[in-house]
């Protein structure tokens, strides 16, 4: 029997050491079971962490040898198997004593601990992160109502008031787990801007696997390639030409399968030919279909514009012979077709400068002819393509994952396209908002060394907090003006700010909507609509709407008499009940109103915690449930006394209003009592524990925060 708080008494037993049963003694100490061999000088002391115990087996009473087998959870090492620890006892009472001690320790996480959850259960709970803790604190600081609720409900809360400590029945974590939605946003915000990048790896594996000879029935040599949505997206992002070909031809000219087959085949042949010209018309057609399309002059200019000013070499390239004449500006079209072909000022073939590469046309022509020079030109052309694709690959990697979900080839293509367009757009915005010069002027500090642009810090972009859109304070004294101003700001922020006409229209739209709605209510039968184009709503119409609303709500309230609860405020829902009361009764009801609604909220929360503990199968659950039930009992009594203090008429109203809550509480109480009968063993274990705990706490001169004996309420 576990009698002392720290460790049980020693129980003689034997354990297998190096294959032979060795006599020794075991005892439970804290959360561990320690076995020591009896004979001095014998090695093999065993320490079992009780938190690891998952199974607990005694052999049948009356067996030849009383033994106990503990199944231990696998250790942290990967692939570890569940472990077992077998002890043999000289007699059954010894075995049972140790078994009980172990059970008690595993059930409560050690006799000395007061925690409500066993070690095992606790370990499975997610650890509270620092960000979450900070978010909790921030929430409590900013929300006094929440802080008050925290004070009432949470044991040991720093917001607790003396008079309400009896209600504190839940733990910090339990309290917050009921309010996860409040702070997940705050916690998530910390890492919200963090984007998952994509890997640097160059080619998605699209070459496919070649089966080799293959069997002749299946068409001989087969190359099998697998495409996933991600791969498709990657292909579309890295090769805009393939994307364009897809969007143009699928499903109009070919099926998706056909498209991918052609693409993969073309890729395979391209790799296999290693620079040699394609063989056959179809191969050439495929190659042409998927070949990179040269950028237009406009696209190039747009690209040049979005590059930040201090690296923009294109800004004055070709203006003069800065780095050579205009002729050394290589354009997409190559040297011959482009402007470079026309010669110019400056020195064309300089030793220091590289001559512009031969154009693709020349390279292809030369490759056809063969010969050393032609090959060199073709190789040069191929190398340029490689370099270009490498650069493009890197920029695709920097773009990262698409925002839109990619579910099939088309969405992959569209996502890739959107990303590309988005890049151009954001780059342009950056250019517009932070010119090089402007940065500098902002950075000028008041004294000492002023940071230059190049010296200012570079913040990691995904660590920057996004600035929220400026909130508009709600002013209800003149709603029409408020909405008008909101509409105005919206239009102003939108791209076409200059479009004053549109703004005016939006402005009217709201007014129109309201007056139309009012008119529709008013003249339900005839279609005539009064044309009120003033921003303010027609007074008569507004009055009509208000009357209609209040009468409707009154009707609703009457229909569901007991529907109202203290959870809500004393608003129009209860108008009918209040209307029937005398003034003094109303005053009496009003005086206890806020306290009563607070109690109701507390009770609702406690009930939630109570039901979260059901079914009461373990000591920990019993412990929590009884804690909550006791707090509920206190509340119940308080509500009862409050009801009794009220004058007759008000008492009736109060009782009516409390009815749902009271019945819910009654339900909880009766469930609690039923469980006591239904799960006797668990309850007994709990009682034993709580008795020990109360004894402990008494010996320790009433430690704070110990669980109280359950109060029977029925």
């Amino acid at each position: 029997m576990a009698s002392s708080s720290s460790s049980s008494s020693e129980v003689p037993c034997s354990v297998s050491v190096a294959g032979s049963m060795t006599l020794g003694a075991a005892r439970v100490t804290g959360s561990t079971l320690v076995w020591r061999p009896a004979a001095a000088g014998v090695q093999g002391e065993r320490v079992v962490d009780l938190a690891r115990v998952t199974g607990h087996q005694r052999n049948k009473p009356g067996s030849k040898r009383a033994s106990l087998r503990l199944v231990l959870a696998p250790g942290p090492a990967p692939g570890a198997k569940p472990d077992a620890f077998v002890m043999q006892f000289p007699n059954e009472p010894d075995r049972d004593a140790l078994s009980d001690a172990i059970k008690a320790a595993t059930a409560t996480g050690g006799p000395s601990s007061n925690t409500s959850i066993t070690k095992n259960e606790k370990n499975t709970l997610p650890k509270t992160s620092a960000a979450e803790l900070a978010a909790r604190d921030a929430l409590l600081a900013s929300n006094p109502e929440l802080a008050a609720a925290h004070g009432r409900l949470v044991r040991g809360s720093r917001f607790a008031k003396d008079d309400e400590s009896s209600l504190a029945a839940v733990d910090e974590d339990e309290f917050w787990s009921a309010r996860v939605d409040l702070f997940t946003d705050a916690v998530l915000k910390k890492g919200a801007t963090q984007k998952t990048g994509i890997s640097n790896v160059l080619d998605a594996d699209i070459k496919g696997a070649r089966s080799g000879a293959g069997n002749s029935q299946r068409g001989g040599d087969v190359v099998t390639a697998t495409l996933s949505n991600e791969k498709m997206h990657r292909i579309f992002a890295e090769r805009p030409a393939v994307r364009a070909a897809f969007l143009e031809n699928v499903p109009k000219n070919m099926t998706e399968r056909e498209f991918w087959t052609r693409f993969l085949r073309s890729e395979y042949f391209k790799a296999a030919r290693a620079g040699a010209p394609p063989q056959g018309e179809q191969e050439a057609a495929d190659l042409a279909l998927f070949a990179r399309r040269p950028e237009t002059e406009k696209q190039r200019a747009a690209t040049a514009k979005r590059v930040s000013a201090d690296v923009n070499l294109a800004a004055d390239a070709g203006d003069f012979g800065v780095f050579g004449s205009a002729s050394s500006v290589v354009t997409e079209l190559g040297a011959v077709e482009g402007e470079g072909g026309r010669g110019g000022h400056g020195i064309f073939r300089d030793g220091a400068k590289e001559p512009p590469p031969p154009s693709s046309a020349v390279a292809v022509a030369a490759a056809k002819e063969g010969g050393g020079g032609g090959k060199a030109a073709a190789a040069k052309h191929a190398a340029m393509e490689t370099l270009r694709s490498l650069n493009h690959h890197a920029s695709v990697v920097l773009r990262g994952r698409p925002d839109a979900p990619v579910t099939d080839a088309r969405s992959a293509a569209l996502a890739a396209e959107a990303q590309e367009a988005n890049e151009t757009l954001t780059a342009r915005e950056n250019d517009a908002s932070s010119g090089l010069g402007k940065n500098a002027s902002n950075d000028v500090s008041t004294n000492g060394r002023m940071p230059l642009v190049s010296e200012s810090f570079v913040a990691l972009e995904d660590l920057l907090e996004k600035t929220a859109a400026p909130a508009k304070t709600l002013r209800i004294d003149d709603p029409s003006r408020y909405f008008a101003s909101v509409a105005e700001t919206e239009t102003r922020t939108s791209e076409e700010a200059s479009d004053a006409k549109r703004r005016k229209k939006e402005h009217f739209e709201f007014g129109e909507a309201v007056s139309n709605a009012a008119a529709a209510m008013r003249f339900a039968s005839d279609k005539k609509v009064s044309e009120t184009h003033s921003p303010a709503v027609d007074v008569a119409a507004a009055r009509f709407v208000l009357d209609e609303l209040s009468s409707a709500s009154r009707r609703l309230a009457a229909a569901s008499k007991s529907g109202a609860s203290w959870g809500g405020s004393l608003s129009n829902g209860n108008l009918s009940a209040l209307d029937a009361l005398s003034d003094s009764d109303q005053a009496a009801l009003g005086s206890i109103g806020s306290a009563a609604s607070r109690d109701a909220a507390t009770a609702a929360e406690l009930l939630r915690h109570f039901w979260s503990a059901a079914p009461l199968t373990s000591v920990a659950r019993w412990e929590k449930a009884s804690r909550v039930v006791s707090a509920l009992g206190t509340l119940y009594d308080r509500m009862d006394s409050r009801k009794k203090a009220l004058p007759n008429g008000a008492r009736h109203v109060f009782a009516q209003r409390c009815r749902p809550l009271v019945s819910a509480m009654d339900g909880a109480f009766s469930f609690f009592d039923d469980e006591k009968r239904a799960r006797k063993s668990a309850y007994a274990a709990y009682e034993k524990r709580s008795a020990a705990a109360t004894k402990d706490s008494e010996t320790e001169k009433k430690s704070v925060g110990g669980p109280e004996a359950p109060i029977e309420v029925s």
Partner: protein
């Protein structure tokens, strides 16, 4: 900090000044006091720009008689950086001296970078922007438009509203003092509705500091347009001037290719067509032109009517332009066109040569006289005559006539200069000997020709850079007499550079970019290994320089095939400089983004290339640098050999000296 430098109060916007910066200022001040030229070297990263700006603007403040500072940079990004520094300086001065010290500083670039006209600015290349602009702003276009408007007719012509509004303001269109980058100018232009390009060109006259490209001073084609009216007292600074000799040479060189000549032929045909039409409809204009040419007024500014039609100017240094009447045989438009056609035909026959030919201008002219009966004197006027013709015919699409004006430039330069030039005809590129691609190159061999007017005109010209060694060579190459010449060392407070020379790869094989070794697969593999290992250990950005584009392309393709790049990509993204500037700029931008976001990146670039010369890889953008080989010039280049020969004969500069200097 504010300190006294030999009696001059210097406003320096930082708390500390490095010893070498102090010495640099001292040298500069001596140069300014002596009203002479200077040549100053100070390593990169020591704050050359701000030192120079701080001293000269302080000098301007103390000596109002000192003219404006003309700060020449090589690229627009550099210009933007200078203006950013200047803004810091300006803020500091304003704080300590007050409004009185306000400076007016602005950058100037081509229309392409300054235009705010919604449609014109969208044009891609400089030529097309210029052409569209001229079409909207040329004086005759505007006159025609005004005519139509005054007669209240529908006009088919269109004008640029920004230019019109600016013109309407006339001399009242001024910028308030301050520092204006190109973006600021555009912004200001948009706000006021004025054309920023013409506003900036107008404001050059009153600005204290002008930051623009070398070419606006060195290239006679644009300098006579933009920088003609600058006063003698100006202080000129050429920043990053270690390549200034090349810029000078480029400014006076012309190359012709087969396509140029073909296009020129077409231009001439279309010109003669236009002349025929003009004869029938408006013969008066042609007669007037003839009369002007007889009087020799063409070059004397009579033609300059204001407006935005200004095309490139005479390619010859202004002092060398003959102030004479155009010779009689090309005064009539149809004669001139026939003359041009003959010249182009002659050039075409020369282009058919299969051997490399090299000759002096004198020999060329003699041969020309013999076979095409064109004399050098007439050739000299080629350019002016063509400009006059284009203006008379009211042609705004000068872009279309690029080819023929290039031929005219060629003719004028050949006709004007006898010494210091060389003509080289290469029928094919040596790298691709089987592809016929003839180039007729008129190359200037003497860098001092283009820069001489600058040294003569302005009282103080400073040449400064991070590397000007051997510094004695510059005055000789550019033929000027510096009053101060100094090479300042860098003060390092700690060991922050760790150079390592790698001669052997991981497998103990020797590595080199020697021509006979560079293609060895072992060498390529070892170079790749170096890159992979460094990429694995070095944080953020890593830059690698190769000796040439072709070598880089070759080695990168090999790396791509053998999977070296895949391995590098496990650690960092790879960006590569290409010969396409737009793409290179985009790659650079992305490279910076990759470094900024912590992914890390490798930039493969070419030594002496655009990126190596123009872009800073500071801080995390360049934690390590790999140089694959030492980038000497390609010594077999005919242009280079001609130049070396010329240098040896004229300036007694040894070839080896020059090559080392260049590298």
């Amino acid at each position: 900090m504010i300190f006294n430098l030999e009696g001059l109060t210097v406003y320096f916007p930082y708390e500390y000044v490095y010893p070498e910066q102090y010495k640099y200022m001292l040298e500069l001040k001596h140069g300014l006091d002596a009203k002479g030229h200077g040549c100053l070297e100070m390593p990169t990263g020591t704050g050359k720009t701000i030192t120079c700006l701080a001293l000269i603007t302080s000098y301007q403040l103390a000596h109002p008689e000192c003219g404006k500072l003309i700060y020449c940079t090589r690229t627009v990004p550099e210009m933007e950086k200078v203006l950013a520094e200047l803004r810091v300086l300006q803020a500091y001065r304003e704080k300590h001296v007050g409004k009185a010290s306000e400076i007016m500083a602005l950058g100037l670039s081509s229309r392409k970078n300054m235009c705010i006209h919604p449609r014109v600015a969208d044009e891609g290349s400089r030529e097309s922007v210029d052409a569209r602009c001229r079409r909207l702003t040329a004086s005759w276009v505007r006159e025609k438009h005004m005519d139509c408007v005054s007669r209240e007719e529908e006009t088919s012509t269109e004008l640029c509203q920004f230019f019109e509004d600016y013109e309407k303001e006339g001399p009242d269109a001024v910028l308030p003092p301050g520092v204006y980058t190109l973006a600021d100018l555009r912004e200001f232009g948009r706000k006021k509705g004025w054309c920023p390009y013409f506003l900036a060109r107008h404001m050059i006259g009153v600005a204290n500091v002008v930051v623009y490209n070398y070419q606006y001073l060195l290239d006679p084609k644009v300098s006579s347009l933009v920088s003609r009216e600058l006063e003698k007292e100006c202080v000129v600074v050429f920043d990053e001037a270690h390549n200034i000799d090349n810029v000078c040479i480029e400014a006076l060189s012309v190359n012709l290719r087969q396509q140029t000549l073909d296009a020129a032929g077409r231009n001439i045909t279309s010109l003669s067509g236009k002349i025929e039409r003009a004869k029938q409809t408006d013969a008066r204009r042609l007669r007037e032109e003839y009369a002007r040419l007889v009087d020799g007024l063409a070059q004397q500014g009579v033609l300059r009517r204001g407006g935005g039609e200004d095309a490139l100017q005479n390619p010859v240094i202004p002092d060398d332009i003959l102030r004479e009447a155009v010779p009689g045989n090309i005064r009539r438009a149809e004669h001139f066109v026939a003359f041009l056609r003959r010249f182009v035909e002659y050039l075409k026959t020369r282009m058919r040569a299969t051997q490399v030919e090299q000759e002096t201008p004198a020999a060329f002219l003699a041969h020309l006289q013999r076979s095409a009966a064109i004399d050098g004197k007439t050739l000299k006027f080629c350019y002016d005559r063509l400009t006059s013709l284009l203006k008379t015919l009211e042609i705004v699409d000068t872009e279309e006539y690029n080819a023929v004006s290039l031929v005219a430039d060629f003719g004028t330069l050949v006709g004007t200069y006898q010494a210091g030039f060389s003509l080289i005809l290469e029928p094919y590129d040596e790298r691709y000997p089987n592809i016929p691609d003839p180039v007729f190159q008129l190359c200037c061999l003497d860098a001092s020709l283009a820069v001489r007017p600058v040294f003569e005109k302005f009282q103080s010209v400073f040449i400064t850079s991070g590397t000007l060694s051997p510094i004695e060579l510059y005055p000789r190459l550019l033929s000027f007499n510096p009053v101060c010449i100094s090479s300042l060392p860098m003060t390092l407070t700690r060991e922050c550079l760790c150079p390592v020379v790698i001669t052997r790869g991981a497998d103990q094989q020797a590595v080199s970019t020697k021509f006979d070794m560079r293609d060895d697969p072992g060498v390529i593999q070892n170079y790749g290994r170096i890159l992979i290992d460094l990429a694995a250990t070095v944080p953020d950005g890593l830059v690698a320089f190769f000796v040439s584009y072709s070598y880089m392309e070759q080695i990168v393709s090999k790396w791509h095939e053998t999977g070296v790049l895949q391995q590098v990509m496990q650690h960092k993204l790879v960006f590569i400089e290409t010969q396409d500037v737009v793409e290179t700029s985009l790659a650079l931008d992305n490279y910076r983004r990759a470094c900024n976001c912590g992914r890390g990146a490798v930039f493969l670039s070419v030594a002496r290339g655009k990126v190596a010369e123009g872009i800073d890889f500071d801080r995390h953008y360049g934690r390590a640098v790999i140089m694959y080989g030492v980038p000497y010039q390609y010594t077999l280049s005919r242009v280079l050999r001609a130049r070396l020969e010329y240098l040896r004969e004229t300036f007694q500069i040894k070839e080896a000296d020059f090559l080392v200097f260049d590298a």
